[in-house]
Symmetry: C2
Subunit: 421 residues, 2 copies
Amino acid sequence: MSILIKSVLLNGKEVDVFIQGSIIKKIGKNLGIDRSSTHIISGKDKAIFPSFFNVHTHAAMTLLRGYADDMELHTWLNDYIWPFERKLTPEDVYWGTKLACLEMIKTGTTFFCDMYWHVDAIAHAVDEMGMRAALSSAYVDFEDPKKGDLFKKKNKKFFDSLPNVDKSRIKFIMGPHAIYTVSRDSLIWIRDFAKERKLYINIHLAETKKERDDCLKIRGLTPVRYLEEIGFLSNKCICAHVIWVDEQEMDILKQREVNIAHVPASNMKLCSGSFKFDKVLKKGLLIGLGTDGCASNNNLDMLEEMKIAALRAKMGSNDPTCAKSKDIFKCATQNGARMFQINGGEIKEGMVADCILVDLNHPQMIPHHNLISNLVYSANGDCVVTTICNGKILMQDRRVKGEEEIIKKNKAIAASILKRM
Amino acid sequence: MSILIKSVLLNGKEVDVFIQGSIIKKIGKNLGIDRSSTHIISGKDKAIFPSFFNVHTHAAMTLLRGYADDMELHTWLNDYIWPFERKLTPEDVYWGTKLACLEMIKTGTTFFCDMYWHVDAIAHAVDEMGMRAALSSAYVDFEDPKKGDLFKKKNKKFFDSLPNVDKSRIKFIMGPHAIYTVSRDSLIWIRDFAKERKLYINIHLAETKKERDDCLKIRGLTPVRYLEEIGFLSNKCICAHVIWVDEQEMDILKQREVNIAHVPASNMKLCSGSFKFDKVLKKGLLIGLGTDGCASNNNLDMLEEMKIAALRAKMGSNDPTCAKSKDIFKCATQNGARMFQINGGEIKEGMVADCILVDLNHPQMIPHHNLISNLVYSANGDCVVTTICNGKILMQDRRVKGEEEIIKKNKAIAASILKRM
């Protein structure tokens, strides 16, 4: 079944958008199509935009939303997050991921890059929800060679026999957690394994001052220079945070064409430090936007994240003219697509049909001086009325298939985990 | 007509809430009431909270939403905001305020403190929308004695014959814009006039470094000390921003029981500086939360403002344990009520019936580990399903009376203003 979005606003003009298979086939005025095999959506009082690419999250952490806030990092991790996570079964993670997908679809996101455990369960959740994703399993050996060997074996086995899901939407990637939780030996193994299998690598990098200070003490190098020294960095790396870096490290990252996942809300909530948005952008690095997990945000709404990113960047550089709404919107859409080599993130003929319709009559979208500004600074996720991914309608008129069951299940699971503790 | 909210969640317990006239009359289990004269609302899958008090905004600036962003302050004001505002008629301001009220009602706010022009038109808009407000007309004489005399006369005339609106909901207050736009002579007149008439005073204070530096140069005193010197400060003052103040100035403000309107999104967007939330809170000053106008935010959603306030405060003090969700929630509700001596901001018997029902099945409210945390860090304004002010239902099931006309009018007016320029 094809889709025709009739008379929808695109870049200030009213057009028809015709989607065939997974692709935006044709954009124009009064398109003539075979109505018998086409699902028609009215674009009246709606604008079409690319959907969002959330390039860093831990989706199943929806189950921890509101469980632990306003705490010092170590108390938060040791006394709350980790004990809770130790109780999570694959079934819990499956439903937690479904809740995350539901929230993302309802707020206009169709792609996310994930790092968590029980990736098999995650993959099936994403597959059923119809989203696009890059999924990694957290690789954490804590410098223990035995654990390192175990993770190598597990990863090899996993990539030799991937879950039976739609590979056109779901990529599997490597997930070394960070330089302080993964040994040098494992990082080198991951580097080679990823190269051999042509895999992306998802890693947290230079998130806290402690990470930088400890790395300098132990390795005699900063985190970026340490990864450069072992030849780890490439255009297949998606590095989250990248806060504690100097100019020269930015140059190294640029030279290696490393991709940056900027997660401003989480950085502010955990007091991680100040991401130098303006400088990193001027260096020409590719910046995508991510929400991080729900324990440190606490939602997955990319519209809210865009606003926080813009405000944070302006404040950080003390320059209200930086981080313009169009730059931030690009980070949240086409940059995310580009870093995963997905031919999307824009509404153009030939691109994948990953798009949203936004309600132009939502009070927060009125008036219509500048719709991109309205999306970045004023709208929230509920302004999205229709979400399409890979040419399939995942939400129409704010209804997502199966949402009641997902809500019910997650309420029950969250309560049951507390009882298990 | 009384209202009974049946089986609604309040502080973790399911109760009935009975509203009679403008007051929360009774809270308890299975309340017996006269059903013939009572409107019953189901509280199933909903929680009740106090509605929000937006203590600093310029409501009609909804008309400028998205008109000018990402600019240096002077370009923004001189080339965009002021030329646009000069074209605004009372009719425009009336409709712009209605749009603001619509947005606020839809995001759970029932009170706002305003400063703008054409207060007569504003008052009628608020009266018709059923909200509570404290309205001030911007007093700006630019050190010109002739203008000062004009403003004095206009204010006297205005307060001698107030608009014919519901005074139980709408207060009229004084609105000296700032120390750099109002002469010393006018400030002293306002001080005395407000004292004589028992009026609140709404003023921008210590917003930018330039304001502080200029005041030091011209008056030999910082802005707070200048106002202290002329005996201006009292518990009737609502001071917005209050960023560029030292410890001793905080002590002066505390001693005079001055009320603070904190507007974090606007401060970040315009790079005004860092409000010292933690220190001001510890001094025991009353902090309310405001959105500022839509040209510098660009919405009026207090749920989003709470999150930005919490993240900004944590980052500013480099302490993730400060600005806890319950403190921020208090700023957005009962502190706002307290500073305007409104017996509200909490769900308690005897308080005014200003409250909201929140959808507990909204994905961003799941799971229910901590509902206050969910409101502050995860929810957006669209999670509010019902808004009640002064015992009247302003929104039920997300429907507000007359919203289509407000949207239509504002689209037309915004477009027509551009043509007039």
